[in-house]
């Protein structure tokens, strides 16, 4: 499933060439729109030429529609594309400064490159300013480092903020965006009419193009609403590789191998306990974190953010609930997770034999042992024993996985 990492896939020269080609597409788009000319940009702010709004929002809507259409069809993984992280106040301050920059200097960083490439000297001076501004920022960043890193909200999306399904937010954005583009077009036409530079041909062409774009985008919106966005269950049903892994028992790590991995300096291990609070408080492994199986999204987001791809061990009392959570974690192949074989019950049997009274017959996935006190991980046996094998160790089940490409971001 897309996206891919071209540098990883094709090596640096070819991968970089691909980025140069995409950059060329970007440069051509900016130049043909007229963004190499300052007046085409600043006209926006004087209610004259509205190219900025018309081009920018058309491009955003087209990209948004295609992205969420392909995401809906299961061809592209939304979790692995770069969504600029939200730092609310530095973003707003930076935005204001860029707004001052465009109205004073006539460009923004991207358009000043297109301007320079067209031979415009003011564009070249603007680019020099952008570089100077970056170095200036670097030299004074220390004095407001706290502010610079404040109001961090991570990968925070409009659907999460509004509490609405993604496809609904996309539909609203596309309809609102089309109205914005149409409104800007009206403003521009009014100005051109007053200046006497509006031709009938232009009115006709704009009408045709705008209608075409609106029809295509609205059709895409309907499709996005009908298809919806893929759930983890959809992804699991399509993931034959992980289904086989489960059927062949290759998803289950014996408690001994878990202990080994806990002490392995080469492994970033994360222990996830999916049982309810009561059982967790009675007995859980040291460093295990209890998670809510019904709210996995934030947990998965955190796991994907880790710089060292973690080996995740999921555990419940037996295996049933752990397997359900595991299916969701691995559905998109982005998280390297396993189920602890036999769950906490098997762990206790192996590490705390004779300490607790067994319960004769227990329903599936409940505790099979009488735990007298809620000591959590203070039980001696809850701390995995230091294994005898030194690292590196040949694991039977656990395989290390490369970090899934999550997109380094357009701000580098």
């Amino acid at each position: 499933m897309a996206p891919f990492d071209p540098v990883e896939l094709l090596g640096k020269p070819m991968g970089y060439l691909i980025f140069i080609l995409f950059g060329m597409g970007f440069g051509v788009s900016l130049e043909i729109a007229g963004f190499g000319v300052a007046h085409k940009l600043i006209g926006q702010f004087y209610f004259k030429d509205q190219t900025v709004f018309k081009t920018m929002f058309t491009s955003v809507l087209v990209a948004m529609a295609l992205l969420f259409l392909t995401i809906g069809l299961g061809w592209l993984d939304y979790d692995r594309i770069f969504v600029p992280p939200t730092y609310l106040w530095t973003g707003i301050l930076g935005g204001l400064l860029l707004g001052f920059g465009i109205i004073i200097g006539g460009y923004c960083p991207g358009t000043s490159l297109a301007s320079s490439a067209s031979g415009h000297l003011d564009g070249i001076f603007f680019v020099a300013g952008v570089m100077a501004g970056g170095l200036l920022f670097g030299s004074v960043a220390d004095s407001f480092w706290g502010f610079y890193n404040s109001s961090f909200m991570g990968r925070f999306t409009l659907p999460e903020w509004l509490g609405l399904p993604t496809e609904v937010v996309v539909a609203i954005a596309i309809v609102a965006g089309l109205l914005l583009v149409w409104g800007s077009d009206m403003i521009e036409k009014a100005w051109k009419r007053r200046e006497g530079i509006l031709t009938d041909a232009e009115v006709k062409q704009d009408k045709r193009v705008l209608t075409g774009i609106a029809v295509a985008l609205l059709a895409a919106t309907v499709a996005i609403l009908v298809i919806g966005q893929p759930t983890l269950a959809d992804a699991w049903n399509k993931n034959t590789e992980k289904q086989a892994m489960l059927a062949e028992g290759k998803a289950f790590v014996p408690p001994a191998e878990v202990s080994q991995a806990v002490y392995d300096p080469l492994i970033n291990i994360v222990l996830l306990d999916v049982r309810d609070e009561r059982d967790f408080n009675l007995y859980h492994l040291e460093n295990a974190q209890r998670i809510d199986p019904d709210n996995l999204a934030p947990v998965m987001a955190d796991l994907l953010q880790e710089s060292e791809p973690p080996v995740v061990i999921v555990m419940s009392n037996d295996e049933t609930r752990a397997i359900e959570v595991w299916k969701q974690l691995v559905a998109k192949n982005s998280i390297n997770a396993y189920v602890m074989e036999g769950g906490i019950n098997a762990w206790i049997e192996e590490h705390a034999e004779g300490q607790f009274q067994p319960i004769e017959s227990h329903p599936d996935d409940t505790l099979a042992w009488v735990i007298p006190d809620a000591l959590g991980d203070k039980w001696h046996s809850a701390i995995p024993h230091q294994p005898h094998h030194p690292a590196p160790y040949e694991y039977e089940i656990i395989k290390l996985q490369k970090k899934a490409p999550t997109g380094a971001g357009g701000c580098g």
Binding site: F4, G91, G95, D122, L136, C411
Partner: protein, 184 residues
């Protein structure tokens, strides 16, 4: 170039400059490029990041000690790091190439200074530099410019990017009245 008055410093007239493409059609093309780069690489577009890395690279040629003692710059060009070894620099090289080829193909390649009628050429250069400095500083502050933060984040529904875009346009509209003589 609509109402703009531009001073031609040096012009090589080879063919008549073609008018710009319909802004909506240009928007569709830009949208397709943005979608494709996301689909195939997982990364969006960007412009200021590459320019910044180039600046760090240049600064290191002149003052390596300064780069190595400035924490924010170390992460780009400290020690043995290669500031230009990044996909974001490749995007900028592409933008320059694409912009050049397009301007050449449509007969718009011209050494001119685009400015308002009330401003002298060297004054315009100075003001462009100041505007660029504000934009460059701002782009570092917001961790991305109108492309890296604006286009990418708007299309992928980032809350922070929409806030950024609102602030960007607010900044432009707020100051527009006071600097109108620079342009008209």
């Amino acid at each position: 170039m609509t109402a703009a008055s531009s001073t031609v410093t040096k012009s090589k007239k080879k063919r008549a400059a073609k008018p710009f493409t319909n802004s909506l059609i240009a928007g569709v093309l830009l949208g397709l490029v943005l979608f494709l780069v996301y689909f195939f690489t997982g990364d969006g577009l960007g412009a200021s990041g590459g320019a910044n890395r180039f600046a760090v690279w240049a600064a290191r040629l002149v003052a390596p000690g300064w780069v190595n003692s400035t924490p924010y710059l170390i992460k780009y060009g400290g020690g043995a790091k290669k500031p230009l070894d990044s996909f974001i620099v490749m995007l900028d090289i592409g933008v320059l190439l694409g912009g050049f080829l397009s301007a050449w193909y449509f007969g718009r390649l011209k050494t001119v200074t685009i400015k308002g009628p009330r401003v002298g050429t060297s004054m315009r250069w100075f003001i462009a530099f100041i505007g660029g400095t504000l934009a460059g500083f701002g782009a570092r502050m917001s961790r991305g410019c109108t492309s890296g933060q604006g286009l990418n984040g708007a299309a992928t529904l980032s809350v922070g990017s929409w806030a950024f875009l609102l602030a960007f346009f607010a900044g432009g509209y707020l100051l527009a009245y006071f600097v109108r003589r620079l342009w008209f």
